[in-house]
Homo-oligomer: 229 residues x 2
């Protein structure tokens, strides 16, 4: 089991790779592996986290409930990403909820191990810092997109993003299948508007659908739309 974890961590989780052998051992010894079914909650907004969750398999949506009762999905976290890191570091309760989008396997690592390593191993801290700097840049970009692009542009962008980050199956459909509602919540629009635009894209031949599955049919057209042509 330990060797398996060793392998898993080194390969997939970029911050943890800066840990020493002893520190990794500690992680291996204290971590617990959990299986989370599609739709199940990993943690809720406002929860006090006493550790982080390292995603081994599957995808989680990180979202925040707004006053009007809608969920805004801020990030989709996949294999290798760590959930709850920010909360543990800032010693704040979770700002976002984490829910499994499909069946997942996650490793729970107690915060003591993380915090300890942060205090003792500057390389690890620096590595985490670099990751967070990157996340922050992405968040800033999302803010600009949200306020300056139309819903159509954002939906087109979402499909391109999903294709790029989660791939396509052999039939050309996006590997990660989200419900229309989830897509709407990523993009920050009403579910009906989202569905309407999906229909429009399909009619124009830019995407293809089969049930809830969506495939990119004309990448260039989608790209042009995003760029504002």
């Amino acid at each position: 089991m330990t060797s398996k974890c060793d392998q898993c961590i080194i390969r997939k989780f970029n911050s943890l790779r800066a840990m020493s052998k002893e520190e990794l051992k500690k992680v291996s010894d204290t971590k617990t592996t959990k299986f989370v079914k599609k739709g199940e909650i990993i943690f809720n907004e406002g929860a006090k986290l006493n550790g982080v969750y390292c995603v081994r398999n599957g995808v989680s949506k990180l979202s925040k409930l707004s006053a009007n009762g809608k969920d805004q999905i801020v990030k989709l976290a996949t294999k290798g990403e760590v959930l709850g890191q920010r909360s543990v570091i800032a010693e704040e309760s979770a700002n976002l909820s984490a829910v499994a989008v499909n069946d997942m396997e996650v490793c729970f690592i107690p915060k003591e191990v993380i915090v300890n390593t942060l205090h003792k191993n500057p390389d690890f801290t620096y590595e985490v810092l670099r990751h967070m700097a990157h996340d922050l840049r992405e968040a800033d970009d999302v803010v600009v997109n949200m306020s300056q692009k139309t819903v159509k542009q954002r939906i087109a962008e979402a499909f391109l993003y999903l294709g790029k980050n989660f791939g396509e199956d052999d039939e050309g459909f996006l590997t990660l299948t989200l419900s229309r509602e989830d897509i709407a919540n990523v993009v920050g629009t009403a579910t009906e508007s989202c569905i309407r635009i999906i229909s429009e894209f399909k009619k124009k031949g830019w995407i293809k659908t089969s049930g809830k599955r969506i495939g990119i049919a004309d990448k260039k057209k989608l790209n042009d739309l995003v760029e504002g042509f």
Copy 2:
């Protein structure tokens, strides 16, 4: 001069407070102080930064130009905040432009000093990390606001934010005076829409204006609007 810097840094810049005496000395020796006039550019989006800027006085807007030619203001940085930190840490070019909103005094600290300290002083790295974790949380909140709140709500929120973070003068006007265009760019809307809503708020007696100055007249009403009542 050195003693002055010592004082300044320790008091105002939370990450730098974790530096050792020697490290602070190094900062004092290598830093240069610059005066930036209102409207002047500190650095531009895409620029390679070879240091960070610590704000001693005045306010800077951090913004990003979108494809449609509009500037989205992502953050207003004031006394004690550090600009360019993220870029230096991630070794990326600047993602945002920094422009002075009023006359400023900033200290430029070469990146070598910062990066060196990051590698050698875990307390400092941890401190920077905590700050960035906090910034990331704020950025996530902004994303949710942008997508889930109406322009009216966002403008009301902006006034409350400006009042809370920059204060009011003795006549009850917001200390930080932004142009209508800047307010629109903070909120992510068209300048005309922004002006229209300001007129509406004034007509309702929720705010008062005098030239470009704006004052909060009915905090509760603004708050209620933000909360969705």
